[in-house]
Symmetry: C3
Subunit: 203 residues, 3 copies
């Protein structure tokens, strides 16, 4: 399980960047950009830790995370290159982040003795809540709740594959790798073919 | 006190349904409908448990709740009958949910040694925070803060009756039943006669 | 460190009042005014305590806080004088509250063994999150994220001064006093000269 903390770091920066892009669009200043970046990157993991009563919370305990994202936020305000950043450049890193976060969230929940279905939900919460928080702070309807291209669904599918492989005695590295791969591939396919969930039936 | 966990279950479904109706109105997809239903049903109890440091959190520990609400959300998307659901059909079940949640919240707080006034507040938070969270996610001003027909006030009155009866050595079943009844009757009277709280004086 | 709980109380009322003014502007009723006042006053400290795993939470444990703010909210609804309250009358008490909350937040974090940078962040969270929560509930973009006059930045500077003085063995009273003074003076200067942070570069 020592894999889990390591892969978590890679996803954080992609998530922070999606927060920064949204905060810049709202013309937030440095404080706002930093706050939204922190919330997007750490919101999911923090909610998961509060719900599972895991402590200490990663970014509270180790300053390197908050400092790294502060560096990103400063760069986003002062470097002209950031003004040209568009969300679609983030699609692959964001999919990787979603995959990594989903699987670590599910993994921590299973370690804590949580049942399969709720552990998968914890994976989805870890992967998606930061983005929901970003949208709430930016006063938008959460994009993942309104016919996005299968965002939370990819997280659910990958977490399910991971949890089932782990319960059937696969090596934890293979299970985690498969889960992450399922999330990333499903998300990229969904974007490519604009696959969405149904919303309202019968109307 | 073994009554408390049992009556909690009945209210959950009414609350989940009010989340589903609001999420459908915003044209959320299955993921959004499920997330809003979960937040509406469990938001109040989860916040109460975090504030009181009670653990484990009910729905995290037992998958039956999250699975039941998932079933509701799937039904809400795929069954045409759900499209005809209107909020007023939910007025009675919602009042029952409000009553049950308020009294369990107050009860758990008193069990934890919390003072009378804050214990009543915990009842109100348990009964109403899910709906506030639903409105925030759906990007609306929380309906219970703007001259609704005495929603939180009913919760406060019932919690007060319950707490006072309990402190004056009434049987806990009688105290709980009286508290729940006060919430339900007060709410239905307030709806029937459009009784609202004052907002601004002096203007 | 016994200074910390005492100075916390003074700031609470100024923060509650800023919540009340905003809630009245949205025409919230008594329940809404009280809820927003509570969230504005206690939101920052409560989030800090959840993140640091400090317990019990101040206002949950001692009813005097929730009762005092209830009194304020009732006054705000029924006394015509409140209708004439304007935010600018609150600038000084709010700056004092910001200073006190920032320094107590940083102090509690350092007591808990948190690193310097994150402890300063905890000071900023304690000082500012209540206001962010107020704006989210009132369905506004958080004002401190959009080129306010250095609100969170003042909190950051004062917390930094406090933490550095404390680490360099100054008397804790002198360190706290200096930190609070830096926040208040920086905030009043920023308001007076409309000093703001940059938002977007390169455009």
């Amino acid at each position: 399980m020592t894999l889990l903390p390591i892969i978590e770091n890679i996803g954080l920066m992609a998530f922070a960047m999606s927060g920064i892009i949204e905060a810049r669009r709202k013309r937030f200043d440095l404080v706002g950009v930093y706050a939204v970046a922190l919330c997007t990157a750490f919101g999911g993991g923090t909610l998961r830790d509060l719900l599972l009563d895991r402590k200490p919370i990663l970014w509270v305990n180790d300053p390197v995370y908050a400092l790294a994202i502060f560096g990103l936020a400063v760069g986003a305000i002062f470097l002209p290159a950031f003004a040209r950043l568009r969300e679609r450049y983030l699609q692959l890193p964001d999919a990787i982040g979603l995959g990594l976060f989903s699987i670590t969230g599910t993994g921590y929940a299973l370690e804590g003795g949580i049942s399969l279905f709720v552990a998968i939900l914890m994976g989805v919460i870890t992967g998606t809540f930061g983005g929901v928080l970003r949208d709430i702070i930016c006063n938008e309807l959460p994009s993942i709740f309104r016919r996005t291209e299968l965002y939370a669904t990819c997280s659910f599918l990958g977490s399910l594959v991971y949890a089932v492989l782990l319960k059937t005695d696969f090596n934890s590295g293979i299970a985690a790798g498969s889960g992450v791969a399922v999330v990333i591939v499903a998300r990229l396919i969904a974007i490519r073919y604009s696959i969405k969930l149904p919303d309202r039936a019968g109307e």
